[in-house]
């Protein structure tokens, strides 16, 4: 199906992206994830000021046919959320890596970011998923 990978971001196996901007981590869901969900209709964001742990389900995205948890890429304090998504979740479909960012997190330990998947590793993961998908056909 072909999806875009932002080469300046790091990734989770569960299709979240994270980008370092100054001392903060901006995060959202990948282009692959938004394609898989199709048009999003509902987004539940964390609360600014909330402390999240890496791997916590800290947000929810829903389309007509699916609902999915969104996992925090790093532990830290949520310093900002993209409130525009609450009324217009389809922004994520249109621009998953830019306008569709979901939260900014001030990480407890900035080094946590380095443990996330590189764009190359994430690309390899997607390729693997695609191959599994076609293998099921035979």
């Amino acid at each position: 199906m072909g999806s875009f990978i932002d080469s300046s971001a790091r990734y989770l196996k569960t299709h979240e992206w994270a980008r370092r901007e100054g001392e903060e981590i901006v995060c959202g869901i990948s282009d692959y994830a938004q394609q898989l969900m199709n048009e999003l209709v509902y987004v539940e964001l964390p609360r600014a000021g909330q402390h999240v742990k890496a791997g916590d389900a800290f947000a929810v995205v829903e389309s007509v046919k699916a609902a999915s948890d969104v996992y925090a890429p790093v532990s830290g304090v949520v310093v900002a959320i993209n409130q525009a998504l609450e009324r217009n979740p389809e922004i994520i479909n249109r621009s998953p890596y830019q306008e569709g960012w979901m939260a900014r997190i001030k990480p407890d330990n900035p080094a946590d970011f380095e443990a996330l998947l590189t764009p190359e590793a994430y690309a390899a993961l997607l390729e693997e998923l695609e191959q599994q998908d076609t293998k099921e056909d035979h």
């Binding site: 199906m1 199709n38 048009e39 209709v41 509902y42 987004v43 007509v64 046919k65 056909d137």
Partner: protein, 402 residues
């Protein structure tokens, strides 16, 4: 788990990049790129649907009409050759076994098109309740051999132009003159085909093609290739669902039968149950008694705001005092990106323009709200919705996309 069945078009869907999903025992395309764009393509141009998972039967013989009249609710004796009718099969309790289409393709021969999920059950019911002078054939199966039929739907305002550009001029004229629910037998690109002006999208210019599955791929590709000039797009089940919801049409298991055990009178489809036809039909007296006692009515609604959760079958509908007055049966996104749905509510709440409050329950039902609830905890919000006219206006198919 039994393996999912695949239509003859499976590889074509994969090549087109479709997201596949299980539906009624079949692995079917959910969408190709965007369900919303596919929805809009049908309203503005046309959409091509693989509906060859649908059950197609044939019944023929001198007793065919009388048998169908006994087993279905609409008036089969009034169905002319070359026309189709929408109808119901009821059991003796008056419960809906299935909602089906009958196509009278010859004097004593009918095609019977049924829901995929009910096809085996329907086949058993028909053959068990059949009578002498009546021959049933399952056109899904290999025993039907050369007579097998698969259903491909081309729906939307440009569908006639696409088909006419592929037909012989004389046949194109016949198609242009085909009335709504008409059916003709013709040859399209070397394929023997029944073309019926029927469908499940609410479009008046809309066709279903019944072909042998060995021709499905060639026909699909030709329709898509020629159709591209007209804005035709392949459409998946998600668009099929949102289109029928927007049109106000029922889905078996949601607005018919299902957990609410709904009947045609609940959904303003009572006129397909001809209680005054000369033939008696199975379930008639039970149906009449239940109609008499009915207090519920279906409505079409649109959520007032964007960014709200999608309601599902079973989600409660409240009035502005928080009293439960009904139940959601279906919900999807329309072409304008707004959520639309169908619900059953008390008959007094069904008037157009009425405000309903829909509680779309999340999959994990959250803790109830308590005093001193922690910041950031959530409860499901009743979101306002407005009752729309029961059916989408057919003259202005794109009216919802203001």
């Amino acid at each position: 788990m039994t393996a999912l069945k695949r239509t003859a078009l499976f590889d074509v869907h994969r090549r087109l990049g479709a997201r596949m999903a299980p539906f009624a025992g079949w692995e079917m395309p959910l969408w190709y790129s965007s369900a919303r764009e596919e929805h809009l393509a049908v309203r503005r141009a046309a959409g091509l649907f693989d509906v060859s998972h649908m059950g197609v039967f044939e019944v023929s013989g001198r007793a065919a009409a009388a048998t169908l009249d006994h087993l279905t609710t609409n008036d089969v004796s009034a169905l002319p050759i070359g026309r189709a009718q929408y109808t119901y099969m009821l059991d003796s309790n008056g419960d809906v076994i299935d909602d089906i289409m009958l196509y009278r393709v010859a004097d004593t021969r009918y095609l019977v098109v049924v829901n995929a999920a009910n096809a085996d059950k329907d086949w058993a019911w028909f053959t068990q309740h059949s009578s002498e002078g009546c021959v049933w054939r399952d056109l899904r199966g290999t025993e039907a051999d050369q007579e097998r039929r698969a259903d491909i739907a081309l729906q939307g305002p440009r569908s006639l132009d696409v088909l006419c550009s592929l037909l012989d001029p004389a046949e194109a004229e016949t198609l242009k003159a085909l009335p709504f629910t008409g059916v003709m037998h013709t040859n399209l690109l070397g394929c023997d085909v029944y073309i019926a002006r029927t469908g499940y999208t609410g479009e008046r210019v809309a066709y279903e093609l019944f072909v042998h599955p060995q021709h499905s791929v060639a026909l699909w590709e030709a329709l898509l290739q020629r159709g591209s000039e007209f804005g035709v797009r392949p459409c998946g089940l998600a668009a099929r669902d949102s289109l029928r919801i927007e049109a106000g049409l029922p889905l078996y298991g949601h607005e018919l039968a299902g957990p609410l055990n709904l009947l045609p009178f609940h959904i303003d489809f009572d006129h397909f149950v001809k209680v005054n036809k000369s033939a008696d039909f199975i379930g008639k007296s039970a149906y009449l008694a239940r109609r008499e006692a009915n207090m519920l009515r279906s409505v079409r609604f649109r959520m007032n705001e964007r960014g709200v959760r999608v309601a599902k079958l079973g989600d409660p509908v409240l009035d502005r005092r928080g009293r439960v007055i009904g139940t959601v049966t279906s919900c999807a996104m329309d072409g304008a990106g707004m959520l639309i749905g169908l619900a059953v509510v008390g008959v007094d709440e069904a008037r157009e323009g009425n405000t309903l409050f829909v509680v779309a329950l999340p999959e994990r039902v959250p803790e109830p709200l308590k005093p001193f609830a922690p910041l950031g905890s959530r409860i499901p919000m009743p979101e306002p919705a407005t009752v729309l006219p029961r059916f989408l206006s057919r003259r202005t198919g794109a009216s919802s996309a203001k």
